[in-house]
């Protein structure tokens, strides 16, 4: 602690981190969208065979995982901000936040299953 500074500003100190992560994840999501759009246009549309071939590449799977991780994190920051503004009673907000976290973690597991599971 710096000498002479005897009080900490209040707050949970996640404001700047969330501000930055919301922007970094947004850029990852945008880049992945451009990648998928480019791949689809390059193939001139998709059918089952091309769709399957696109997802067969390990680099694309890892890019997709990075995209989904960014998307879920981005969704958490956004939805939590909405809940902080509109779900005022503490108990209600806590329950809703737990529901959202459970959903996001489940979606992450579902993503892994799609990318590296056996169908």
């Amino acid at each position: 602690m710096v000498a002479g500074v005897d009080k900490l500003p209040v707050g949970a100190h996640y404001g700047l981190r969330d501000w930055l992560s919301q922007r970094v994840t947004a850029i990852v999501i945008t880049l992945y969208t451009a990648l998928v759009l480019g791949i689809v246009l390059w193939h001139g549309g998709v059918d089952y065979a091309t769709w399957k071939a696109i997802f067969a590449g390990n680099a694309f799977r890892i890019a997709t995982f990075l995209f989904m991780a960014s998307l879920l994190w981005h969704a958490w920051v956004g939805v939590r901000n909405i809940l902080m503004d509109y779900a005022k009673p503490f108990g209600v907000r806590l329950v809703l936040e737990i529901v959202v976290i459970c959903a996001l973690v489940a979606y992450a597991g579902w993503t892994v299953q799609i990318l590296w599971g056996n169908g």
Binding site: R23, W51, F55, A75, G78, V79, T111, Q113
Partner: protein, 132 residues
């Protein structure tokens, strides 16, 4: 200063009926950013995961997953989600520009809000034309 010395404040009207206040354009863009984001969280993400999983499972499952996309209801859902995504992306880019202190004065901020709204509608129209 004792409380009794203070001038008696007249009760001021509190008038916060959101539907009676004329919202400025940037406020409308802001609330739509939220609504489109919430929509994609509640409907978009589970639907996306379900679709990708089914479409990768087998040729038959692919056909079954794509089939709803040609029904009017399927097209409508896709259009709403496409607009949500495009709108959220454009409003996000506007946010990044504001972070870089680009267009933070009132005039440009209003104009960019209008651009975000109009461009998202235009892009959604292109999606609609391609769907129907």
């Amino acid at each position: 200063m004792a409380a009794v010395d203070r001038p008696v404040a007249k009760p001021r009207p509190i008038y916060l009926n959101l539907f009676a206040i004329r919202q400025p354009l940037p406020a409308i863009v802001s609330i739509l950013h939220r609504i489109s984001g919430a929509l994609m969280f509640v409907v978009g993400i589970p639907l996306l995961l379900w679709f990708v999983q089914r479409a990768l499972a087998s040729p038959d499952a692919y056909a079954a997953a794509v089939a709803p996309l040609v029904t009017p209801f399927g097209k409508l859902v896709l259009l709403v989600l496409a607009w949500s995504y495009l709108y959220h992306l454009l409003a996000g880019l506007r946010h990044l520009a504001l972070d870089l202190h680009i267009g933070i004065r009132l005039g440009p901020a209003r104009s960019s809000a209008a651009v975000v709204l109009l461009l998202s509608v235009l892009l959604a129209l292109i999606v609609a034309v391609r769907l129907w």
